[in-house]
């Protein structure tokens, strides 16, 4: 919210610097996001009295002798048509800074520093300025809009700084107001806080006016939707003379970026800024049926708003109607049909409270956000609704632009705007804070905040003004006290009265961290990706229509289609990360992510979906292969105290012959494989990439073994090398499994050679293994291992038709 210091000073005596005020506001909960001086670009500009003014022949220029009081007397060349001897104009001295304008004398092109110059052979020491060159508009100073010099009044003292004269010494505070304080969304509301923090009196603006005898006969206001409009006040004003607002009002509006329009419209805007209550003025000539009706719009009802845009409404939207038709979208914008014109003679002023949620929904649905809708969304209190109307009527009189009738209609649901009593315990307040705030301080603070406090024993009795809808409990009072008393009074203690608790991370959290650390030790970097993916990601993975990954939760209001689905696999995000890296020239690397996939029960979701902890690894580069990734998988199995079995199994996005399911305890827990060439091409991958995905939740449940020490063997193990010849269809995994099943003493099985060709028949290959045999409680007998080997060979022959290589 923009707050000019000069406007604030209307209600509070501020005797500190703008910077000090910024600190005070900050300390009591109002952060000033920006503090700017209105004339910050302007310096070194003083009142100049033109004493001599001679035209330079054959030009439009004049050479002048300008008296700048104590600064001296200077020769200045000037091209403006209104320069004349005896006139007083702003003189930018050599070294001054002013706004640089374009050829049209209007466009701001930056800031320039005035230097000594020569024009047509005439020395020029300084520059006489226009309003635009000083950043002053017609709304801030009369005559400032003239395309020529800004004429200063007769009384101006030559040599005096022009900034105070032109209002260029003002300060604009851009204050951020928290959502609990809609009452501070106005100059007066903030002034109330400033008065409190500075221990000063708040001076309320004048709200008095005199009603005439004139009535608008038969006029009525009906509120059909009191649930959406708890209060509606209408007041009839006649003998209206539409014209320009006085300078002081235009100036204030301009300072906060509001374009002055006409006195009647300006009054509504001014009151809105001053009191925080949006107001509207209808031209009575265009109100049919001598009535105002507040109702829900009919389905398909149309209205053209002040900005000439047409909207189609529905029953969720609240409209203000006359006896016949909608004349405004309540709380959003008035209708074009009843807008204030130059010819307007009678006005119906509206000051109303609308329910904030409804205004927000309407504003969103129509895509129309106005100053009024923003205020209603934050919340407007009925105290302001009443007082704003009074203020507006006062201004009508003050500006002399109309007469206040005695037709005043107030339709309300009976909410009180009288202060409400709140009784709280002083002890509880101090208990929340953890310090003892002296009673007299509590009283002082709460009095400043207009709570009219009294203390009776431990009881603190407050009269809460209607605009403080946020004040309900002792906690709220505690906050009021401490923010004004000062947070620097809070002394650090460390849970002195709390019970000692035992902290710690859960087993799952620790396991996950352990896995992450192991992956780091394997050269992989952790990534974090968005939980949402794009529908095109699922296509990129070439998942068929009926793939489980396509049963996905959709966001109702995604930022865009790319971020619209809750992911059911981490593969797409990982592949995109690999692709991004390659595009940036990182041609090899290892990445991993531990994140959640979201598996819905019903769709659309009716219950919490399964948020499955999942691990994904993506590796890429010349040195990587299926087996380097498998090595990482094995390390993970070891870390989890599990054992993985790999079964060849394709995935649409993986190489058909370099992909496998990962099984643990007979259950599928994930997959790994080489990224299919079609996918790699689509992602512009320049090297091979490999992908692994593991269901950590499932895996964790399957591997619940504890870390235990296995005693070292008492007896030595034995090893045998077996070179086997088998069909090419037989896999290494099958051989290992058969060996293991044949003998319970088998420990490690290591493949050390694979051979084809030579004496090996064409359709066969040879694999050589070192098999380790572990003795149990007793040492092996002389022929034990030979018997084991015999059994193994027999089983290999029987199950897989494998022979010992001769």
């Amino acid at each position: 919210m923009l707050v000019p210091l000069s406007w604030l000073k209307e209600y509070v005596d501020i005797d500190i610097t703008p910077e000090e005020l910024e600190k005070k506001l900050f300390s009591c909960g109002f952060e000033v996001e920006e503090l700017t001086e209105t004339g910050r670009e302007i310096s070194g500009v003083v009142v100049g009295l033109v004493e001599e003014c001679e035209p330079i022949p054959e030009t439009h220029l004049h050479v002048c002798r300008v008296n700048a009081g104590a600064h001296g007397s200077f020769q200045v060349c000037c091209g403006a048509d209104n320069v004349k001897a005896g006139g007083k104009f702003p003189l930018a001295l050599v070294g001054a800074t002013v706004i640089m304008t374009g050829k049209d004398h209007k466009t701001v092109e930056g800031v320039m520093t005035i230097k000594k110059g020569k024009l047509r052979g005439y020395e020029s020491e300084g520059m006489l300025c226009s309003g635009t060159e000083l950043g002053v508009t017609e709304n801030m100073y009369p005559g400032a809009g003239y395309d020529g010099l800004l004429a200063l009044p007769e009384a101006a003292e030559p040599g005096a700084d022009v900034k105070p004269m032109l209002g260029l010494d003002d300060w604009i505070f851009d204050v951020s107001i928290t959502a609990n304080r809609p009452d501070c969304q106005s100059i007066l509301g903030l002034a109330r806080e400033v008065a409190a923090v500075l221990d000063k009196e708040l001076k309320l603006p004048a709200m008095d006016y005199t009603e005439t005898e004139v009535k608008k006969d038969g006029f009525s206001v009906t509120v059909d939707a009191p649930d959406l409009c708890p209060r509606y006040i209408g007041h009839y004003v006649y003998d209206v003379k539409v014209g320009e607002s006085p300078l002081w009002m235009r100036r204030r509006l301009a300072l906060v970026g509001q374009e002055p329009i006409s006195n009647i419209v300006d009054i509504t805007n001014y009151v809105s800024l001053e009191m925080g209550q949006p107001m509207h003025a209808f031209d009575c000539d265009y109100l049919e049926g001598n009535a105002i009706r507040v109702r829900r719009a009919a389905e398909g009802e149309r209205i053209v708003t002040l900005d000439s845009k047409e909207y189609t409404l529905n029953t969720n939207n609240l409209v203000i109607c006359d006896g016949v038709k909608p004349v405004a979208i309540a709380g959003v914008m008035g209708g074009l049909n009843s807008e204030i014109r130059d010819t307007t003679g009678e006005v119906m002023f509206e000051s109303a409270k609308f329910v904030r949620d409804n205004i927000r929904k309407t504003s969103r649905a129509l895509g129309k956000r106005t100053d009024a809708s923003a205020r209603y969304e934050k919340g407007v209190d009925e105290y302001a609704t009443i007082h704003a109307m009074k203020r507006a009527l006062h201004l009508i009189e003050e500006l002399g632009c109309g007469k206040v009738s005695c037709t005043h209609v107030d339709v309300n649901t009976g909410n009180s705007v009288e202060p409400g009593e709140l009784r709280v315990s002083v002890k509880r307040i101090n208990e929340v804070l953890g310090i003892q705030v002296p009673n007299e301080e509590i009283l002082r603070i709460l009095k400043n905040l207009q709570f009219a406090p009294a203390i009776n024993g431990d009881e603190l009795i407050l009269q809460v003004p209607a605009f403080r809808e946020d004040m309900e409990t002792y906690q709220d009072v505690a906050e009021e006290v401490i923010r004004m008393y000062g947070y620097e009074h809070v002394v650090p203690t460390f849970l002195w009265d709390a019970k000692v608790t035992l902290g710690g991370q859960s087993v799952e959290q620790k396991k996950e961290l352990k896995l992450k650390r192991v992956l780091c030790s394997l050269g992989a970097y952790e990534c974090i990706h968005y939980s949402f993916i794009s529908p095109s990601d699922l296509d990129m993975l070439r998942l068929p229509e009926d793939a489980p990954e396509r049963r996905v939760i959709r966001l109702l209001n995604p930022i865009n289609e790319e971020l619209s689905l809750m992911r059911t696999t981490l593969a797409a995000s990982m592949l995109n990360a690999v692709s991004r890296n390659q595009k940036k020239g990182n041609l090899s690397g290892r990445l991993f992510e531990a994140g959640k996939v979201f598996i819905p029960g019903e769709l659309p979701i009716k219950d919490y979906p399964d948020e499955r902890d999942t691990l994904c690894i993506g590796i890429f580069g010349e040195q990587e292969s299926f087996f380097t990734l498998k090595g990482m998988a094995e390390k993970l199995a070891e870390t989890m105290f599990g054992h993985f079995v790999y079964e060849p199994a394709g995935r649409p996005f993986l190489h058909p012959y370099q992909a496998a399911d990962i099984l643990c305890e007979g259950e599928k827990v994930g997959y790994l494989g080489k990224v299919a060439y079609e996918v790699a091409e689509e992602l512009d991958l320049r090297t091979d990439a490999y992908l692994l995905e593991l269901d950590l939740k499932k895996l964790s449940a399957l591997c619940d073994k504890k870390e235990v020490f296995i005693p070292l063997p008492k007896f030595p193990d034995e090893k045998r090398d077996l070179a086997l010849v088998m069909s090419k269809e037989v896999t290494c995994g099958q051989v290992e499994e058969t060996i293991r099943n044949a003998c319970s003493h088998v420990g490690d099985i290591k493949l050390f050679d694979v051979y084809e060709g030579g004496q090996i028949p064409q359709d066969k290959r040879s694999m050589a293994f070192t098999v380790q045999f572990l003795p149990g409680e007793e040492a092996f007998e002389a022929d034990s291992v030979d018997r084991f080997v015999k059994k193994i060979l027999k089983n290999l022959k029987y199950h897989l038709d494998i022979d010992l290589r001769s």
């Binding site: 953890g434 203690t493 849970l495 608790t501 780091c520 974090i528 990706h529 939760i553 930022i559």
Partner: protein, 347 residues
């Protein structure tokens, strides 16, 4: 006699000359030794065999002389062997000379994500203070994300602009604060939990906002919990994260689920509070939001607010990581660029 002693002297001479002229290696030294000391073929060995041809009365002195010669030769050869060994080692070392300034053979180790690193640091601190670590959900019910946290239906924070909805009832968590409610529904005081940094989502996507970021939520509910406790706890915490000289500043703020609510600033650790680019000249950096748990929230969870009070805080991990490591753009955290990920290794 002299003929014999000449012979001994000759052999000594022969050995010394042999050592001097012919021996360049340990192997050559061994060969030379064999010529003299091999028990069968060596010259000294053979002299031992001559014993039987020597007159008995001379045998003793001959034997003594041969033994002396043998011992002398053994000694000499042992010395020679030592010398050759040293020489060969020296040659080997020279052969193996390398240019130590050549590049290392690297075995890469990865890093945890900067957000995980910050998470771990925070967990260490809070677990040390006796906090349990709870889990958070990414998909939440409206009730837990808003209603139970005293964010009524018409509150601006609920706006569609900020929240991603999945259905009228379900949404993407906009804050980890729902963990407060889940915890208080399950546990009775004393409660001390931090919600494991969870992903939270806001419908914001521009240069400084990411639609997904990470929060960690802390909650203490016990008897007589005060604003002073909050300050004391956060003071300890920031000292651990940013250094001993770091201090905190509380200032009023607003969250529907805490009352009073505060914004917690830390003294700028880059300039020590003097004012610099990082803290935009103010000497302070905004770090987290906190407050005393609103009684309505306690009551919503069936906790007697007459008896118990609580404090809560929420901290953005991404922001903390960015501040601590000087990462300028939040988007960098989620792009997985190895050039970024390989830089931060803080635990």
């Amino acid at each position: 006699m002299s003929e014999r002693s000449d012979r001994f002297a000759g052999i000594r001479q022969e050995i010394l000359e042999g050592m001097e002229k012919r021996v360049e290696s340990r192997a050559a030294a061994f060969e030379l030794r064999k010529q003299f000391l091999d028990s069968k073929t060596g010259k000294i060995g053979q002299m031992m065999k001559e014993m039987k041809n020597i007159a008995p009365e001379e045998r003793a002195s001959f034997g003594k002389s041969v033994n002396e010669l043998k011992e002398w030769a053994q000694q000499k050869f042992a010395e020679l062997d030592e010398k050759m060994k040293a020489k060969e080692l020296r040659l080997r070392y020279e052969l193996e000379k390398i240019d130590v300034t050549m590049p290392a053979e690297e075995r890469e180790t990865g890093n945890l994500h900067p957000v995980t690193q910050i998470r771990n640091q925070l967990m260490d601190i809070f677990v040390g203070m006796g906090f349990e670590v709870a889990q958070t959900r990414e998909i939440e019910k409206d009730y837990y994300n808003f209603e139970a946290l005293n964010i009524p239906k018409d509150h601006p924070a609920r706006d569609m602009q900020d929240t991603f909805y999945l259905s009228p009832e379900f949404l993407l968590a906009t804050q980890t604060s729902a963990a407060q409610i889940h915890t208080m529904e399950k546990k009775k005081p004393p409660i001390k939990i931090v919600a494991a940094p969870g992903k939270v989502f806001r419908s914001d996507d521009d240069a400084t906002h990411s639609p997904m970021f990470h929060q960690m939520e802390g909650l203490v509910v016990d008897k007589k919990i005060t604003l002073c406790d909050l300050k004391g706890m956060l003071d300890l915490f920031v000292k651990k994260i940013f250094g001993e000289e770091t201090t905190t500043r509380l200032r009023p703020s607003y969250f529907p689920f805490t009352e009073p609510s505060v914004e917690v600033d830390v003294s700028c650790y880059a300039c020590g509070g003097k004012g610099c680019k990082l803290c935009k000249g103010t000497g302070w950096i905004e770090l987290l939001g906190a407050g005393i748990v609103n009684n309505k929230v306690l009551e919503n969870c069936g906790i007697d607010s007459e008896q118990y009070s609580g404090l809560a805080f929420g901290i953005g991990l991404d922001r903390t990581a960015m501040l601590k490591y000087g990462i300028g753009n939040v988007k960098l955290l989620f792009e997985s660029d190895l050039r970024v990920l390989s830089q931060i290794n803080d635990n």
